[in-house]
């Protein structure tokens, strides 16, 4: 084996091991523990001084009680389901809004493109929290949107937007749209214009060329954008807790409450483990699909 190759590969490997896998196993271990009035607030903890027998004692005390509890209480699976639904719908809306923007950017005159790009990234120059707070100002019943709609006479009394799922959708779509736009733009800008001309030359109308050439060739960007929106949206905590109402069920909120309000670390960890599993399933599916396509190619 080539030592240099091992050294090169070990850098990202150690990074993942130290900053992802080890913390994950710690969370997994806590999720199998019991709540305790102690610091840290769970039991058992590993007694390093007792060596092997200590480790054996620890493993013997672990159980799946917390997972069983999650399955029993319908709050949790309802939260998961509602999170998946909110994340899915938001991702779809981001795609509907983001694709035309990315398409317009990629087809804009070259000298405009840096400016358009800047406009897409500009919101990141303001703190995320401040942007979400300012949405409250826009969406509340005395907010600017309601006042404007009433002023033009479209509605007679203010709409209830804030503290509903609508506000959560608006918040997520507004916040995460750039993550949809940028990868799609990156694939569209690389698209060779002569491919569309060739499609037209071979008998496609403009619309048909768009569906048969542009869409398949920007698939990688669309999928990347969807993942970049779906994954953080699924575990989103700030947006539902600030914009959503008491009826908004999202797993991020549940997680926060278990950790900080109930101080029930084991249950919170179990919630986090399940959330990770939910996220891993689509990623694995996607990667397996990619691999199959690559194998079919060769």
């Amino acid at each position: 084996m080539n030592w240099r190759r091992i050294a090169l590969i070990s850098v990202p490997f150690l990074w993942l091991l130290g900053l992802f896998l080890v913390p994950f196993f710690i969370v997994l271990k806590i999720s199998l523990s019991d709540i305790a009035l102690a610091i840290p607030p769970y039991t058992p903890t590993l007694e390093l001084s007792e060596g092997w027998s200590g480790l054996r004692d620890l493993v013997a005390q672990l159980d799946f009680e917390n997972f069983a509890f999650l399955a029993d209480d319908d709050l949790y699976w309802k939260s998961y389901l509602s999170s998946v639904q909110i994340a899915f719908v938001s991702t779809f809306m981001c795609l509907l809004i983001g694709f035309p923007i990315a398409y317009g950017m990629a087809n804009a005159p070259t000298e405009w493109q840096p400016t358009l790009m800047l406009l897409v990234i500009l919101p990141f120059w303001t703190s995320f929290l401040i942007r979400v707070y300012s949405l409250i100002g826009l969406l509340s019943q005395e907010g600017m949107i309601n006042q404007f709609l009433m002023w033009i006479g479209l509605i007679n009394e203010p709409l209830m937007i804030l503290n509903t799922n609508w506000a959560v959708y608006i918040g997520i779509v507004y916040t995460y749209c750039p993550f949809m736009i940028l990868p799609i733009y990156a694939t569209l800008i690389k698209l060779d214009g002569s491919l569309l001309e060739a499609a037209e030359d071979l008998g496609c109308s403009r619309t048909e060329a768009f569906w048969r050439i542009t869409i398949p060739l920007s698939k990688a960007g669309i999928i990347a954008g969807c993942f970049l929106v779906f994954i953080p949206a699924l575990g989103e905590f700030v947006i539902p807790s600030l914009l959503g109402g008491s009826g908004t069920l999202m797993i991020g909120k549940v997680l926060f409450e278990e950790f900080f309000a109930n101080r029930d670390w084991p249950v919170a960890s179990a919630v986090a483990v399940i959330l990770l599993l939910i996220l891993i399933i689509p990623i694995v599916m996607y990667q397996r699909n990619e691999q199959k396509m690559m194998e079919a190619d060769t």
């Binding site: 002569s194 001309e197 037209e200 030359d201 060739l217």
Partner: protein
Amino acid sequence: MSQNEFAPWNDPAAKPLIQFKNVTKQFGDFTAVDDLSIDIYEKEFFALLGPSGCGKTTMMRMLAGFEKPTSGTILLDGKDISPIPPNKRSVNMMFQSYALFPHLTVYDNIAFGLKRSAMPRDEIDGRVKDMLRLVQIEKFANRKPEQISGGQRQRVALARALAKAPKLLLLDEPLSALDKKLRQDTQFELMDIQEKTGTTFVIVTHDQEEAMTVASRVAVMNFGKLVQVDTPTQIYEAPNSAYVADFIGDVNIIEGNATKDGDRVSIAWAEGQPDIIGTPSQPIGDGRVSFVIRPEKIAISSDKPADRRNAVQGKVLDIAYLGNMSTYHVEMPNGMVIKAQAANQRRRDSLPFTWEDPVWLSWSDTAGVVLEGSGQV
């Protein structure tokens, strides 16, 4: 080539497939194609040749339908094609970049146009297989474009453009991405395929050798205008201007003052040198002329040849050894350099002349072309 039998452009009864009638195309205030008229006949292999920016690509894009003429009309089979969009024209194009669809296999690339046509599903497969066979890429039918070589991609692009059996096939610099050896082989294959399918080909190229090899007629363009439209032989042997002579192949251009001498002219070109005797192709008056002669038409010898009237002495300035032949740059007493070519019939160690050798250059009365006006290109 069968130029002797195939010459519809000389037949007044022949109906052209394509007619450009006073076509002008402007981009902003830049005139890409300037009041251009030309007829192209069925089964022709027509080459548009010129430097970049001469308007040849614009002409092709107007034929394909990607550009509309600013004024004038283009007729295909006697019908004005300006209002017809590219996807409704019986014209297909092979793109310079090949523009193969990267997400489709070779087979699906070739079938792409057929699936958009009215052809019944069960006939498509047969047609695609015929095309694969025609360009000899059956083995790669299930590969993606990125998994085949540049030469194979070029074949796929050709097969895809031919699949719909268009009346007219446009080839935009089709061989520019191939290396020299492969390019030469492919040129002959292109001619072969053109003959087999009987399709009219219009090729755009800046490579004069390529145009000369494949085309039945060559149109030399410059600044959006046609300079000369003729068969390769005529273009080479009887250029109508110093521009064409200089653009196609290597050439010596000698300016001088002509005096009529029967059906010949004698050209005074340098003080203290004998006049050059030339034969104009059509009668010309006295005055400023350019004498245009190709290096291979000039013989080089150490003694003054007795049988030729055109003979000048100079000394060898430079020798370009090309393997099969050598080009000698010979300096005249007035400082002018004339290029002469000689085949290397013997091995290199016995080259007849070397640097600084005094030599005689000679040519026959009909070896060069006499053109009116100065030779400024």
